[in-house]
């Protein structure tokens, strides 16, 4: 059976694909950073909590307060890219989701348990005493499992030649475990979480340092160490990931295409520079450059997807419906800007309320 015959017919889109591509990249990047803060913050809290379960450090208590909120925001920011992904690649992603339906649907259950565990950990922090790391551990492990399910789906959707296995397993229990890129890819995301989680801790404490917090310097150092060592690991993992990519995809990044290759060179050099900034504890420079490099990595990831799907599909194949929706696109942008304005105002009010009390926002 020819895998190309299995690819469903795509639906028409209401405005040209470039718009969705733009929103996909933008919202995915934000989701990625937030997800990294969530998972990384969770792992770092767990690590610190396990080192001294009897007397958890103030950092652990601090992270425990923020953990549920990071889940709320990270999940919300996952909705938008998943929406735009379905507009452009739904006919691939729905298929891979059905093939692994049992695992895919289990994401919802795992998320609910992870989320409640995070709140339980925070609200019963003192009462749980030495059991607290177990509750946090459950949450972190579930969140990491969700990431693994996502890695499976995002790679399975790129490999229609593997889809034929459906005819022997129609119960939705497939995974993409034999794919050599799966584990390097997954670990690349998880290690990024340690880096970004560490950076977030450093950044938060840089702010507190200005407010005169005596403990801030030590925490900046700790956060930047997580960042730097994880980034060093990222460079190794990234290169492994590159080597296991299918040759037709890999060669594009190794001279086959100027655009692909330059982006990769830019990304790797940026990562090396980040190592330097990181070990020097230059928090702000690191943050700005990290933002840029994460954007480059998101673009590279997109190019990898395009290269995988090239034999079957390109987003430029998508047809624009006869009744276009430019007015709605505009309405969305207006609502987005207004909504963000209102949210910014609400956050400002919240921030002021906490500053008046001389406390830090939970």
């Amino acid at each position: 059976m020819n895998p190309a015959d299995l690819v469903p017919v795509a639906d028409m889109i209401p405005v040209p694909w470039g718009w969705f591509q733009f929103f996909l990249i933008l919202t995915f990047m934000l989701h990625l950073l937030l997800m990294n803060v969530m998972v990384g913050g969770g792992i770092i809290a767990l690590f610190n909590h396990l080192r001294n379960p009897a007397q958890p450090s103030p950092l652990v208590r601090d992270l425990s307060r923020k953990f549920p909120t990071t889940i709320a925001i990270a999940v919300n920011f996952g909705v938008a890219p998943l929406l735009f992904l379905q507009v452009l690649y739904g006919h691939f992603m729905y298929v891979s989701s059905v093939l692994m339906a049992v695992y895919w649907l289990s994401v919802v259950g795992m998320l609910i348990v992870a989320y409640y565990s995070a709140y339980f950990y925070n609200m019963r922090f003192d009462a749980l005493a030495e059991d607290a790391p177990k509750v946090l551990g459950l949450s972190v492990v579930l969140l990491m499992m969700i990431g693994f399910v996502f890695s499976n789906n995002m790679t399975l959707m790129l490999n229609p030649q593997k889809w034929t296995a459906y005819f022997d397993h129609a119960g939705g229990t497939m995974l993409n475990l034999c794919d050599p890129t799966l584990f390097p890819r997954y670990l690349h995301f998880m290690t990024a979480s340690l880096a970004i989680g560490g950076l977030a801790i450093a950044l938060l404490n840089l702010y507190r340092k200005k407010k005169g917090d005596p403990d801030a310097d030590r925490l900046i150092k700790q956060g930047m160490s997580w960042f730097s060592f994880a980034t060093a690991g990222q460079i190794v993992l990234g290169i492994i990931f590159l080597t296991v990519l299918p040759s037709e995809v890999r060669t594009l990044f190794l001279g086959g295409s100027v655009w692909h290759t330059s982006l990769l060179i830019f990304g790797i050099s940026g990562a090396v520079l980040l190592l330097f900034f990181g070990f020097k504890k230059m928090v702000l420079s690191t943050t700005v450059l990290t933002g840029l490099i994460v954007l480059v990595m998101v673009l590279i990831r997109d190019l990898v997807r395009r290269a995988y799907l090239a034999p079957y599909f390109s987003t430029s194949d998508l047809q624009v419906a006869s009744v276009t929706q430019y007015l709605l696109l505009l309405l969305f942008v207006v609502v987005l800007l207004l909504g963000f304005g209102v949210m910014f105002y609400v956050l400002k009010l919240g921030h002021e309320a906490f500053c008046q009390e001389g406390e830090v926002r939970p």
Partner: protein, 428 residues
Amino acid sequence: MNYPGWELSFAGGGLLIAMIAIVHVYVSHFAIGGGLFLVLTEMKGHRENSAAILDYVKKHTKFFLLLTMVFGAMTGVGIWFTISLLNPGATSTLIHNFVFAWAIEWVFFLGEIVSLLVYYYTFGRMEKNKHLLVGWIYFIFAWLSLFAINGIICFMLTPGAWLETGNFWDGFFNPSFWPALFYRTFLALMLAGLYGFVTSTRIKDHELRESMVRYCALWLLAPFFFFLASANWYINVLPEHVREVIFVRSPEMVRYIKTFALVSPVIFFGGLVMAIGLPARVKKPLAYLLLLIGLVYMGSFEFIREGGRKPFVIYGHTYSNNVSPLKVEQIRETGILSSAKWVKNKVITDENRLEAGRELFNLTCLPCHSVGGPINDIVPLTAMFKERALEFKIKRLDKSPYMPPFAGTEQEGKALAAYIFQELQGNK
């Protein structure tokens, strides 16, 4: 015919979506009405200069946050995951036609999260008017979420002029949009009272408890007749053929309609009973009982609404089994197996007849029928038919008002009948 089907057997027939959607809807409506309840009750606390009421609102906010933001929001994502697994084709239609409505709803959802978290964490720390403003902002975002989602849900039942024009606005502001919006808004307000019982019956102080429980009863009872009036309006805007499917031609709808009709006065009198002076040990369990009855109430309504859409998943546009009504004749000529992408047996032979029958079953029946499960179980439904009778029945499937036509060839109908009779009924 475009996508693979998830072979669910026992859990098929919409069991998964029913399980997740009903609890989600029950909590998400609370997330809207409960938002208004929070600010108005906080205002009441300030007006009466009562620290005890403010303390109650704070505790209720925690309950509200943990229930709506975790369970409510995550099951909402869960519905999306579930429909894309059970009905990818229809999900894709909804996503591609309403992507900007979904995107706008995402902004509202984010606004809800941000304002609710700030509202919760700044309780007692923020200046009164600012805190109330944050509460109002939460409620407005939450209600706007309903506004956006309501358009898409109603579209599935009454797509109206969209079927001809393909215009977003025709689909969004479809014939049942406004009555459903009012219906759901009033329901959300009632649920605020119903959930309020759970927390207000736990107040230690007798006097305050009695007054807050009565206050919650008012939330439940005051919108009640507006709610029933909007339900009536909702029914009246439904096209004649939809009403006929719901009220006349679907025997299995009767139990949901009866439940809805029976529970209406029960909820109302339950609210009245809560308002009279009973000891806390009676009111506490009664609060949970009413909450459970409310779930049944809401569940029966959602079953009726979903049932009214039969045999379509998007009325007039896509049958429940993902076939477009416009393509039925064409598929009847070429055959399902050769039209569908995800089948192994493209041609029926004597050897593969049962195997092809299974594939036909998965494509055309499994979207609505389970095998041995609690919902729409195919086994008892076909038990009284012999193989030939099944063949005849399949050919004339659309004589039943809630079944889509069988779009296959005669040979495919026979293979399907053979599979049901021999494999599912076990008549080897």
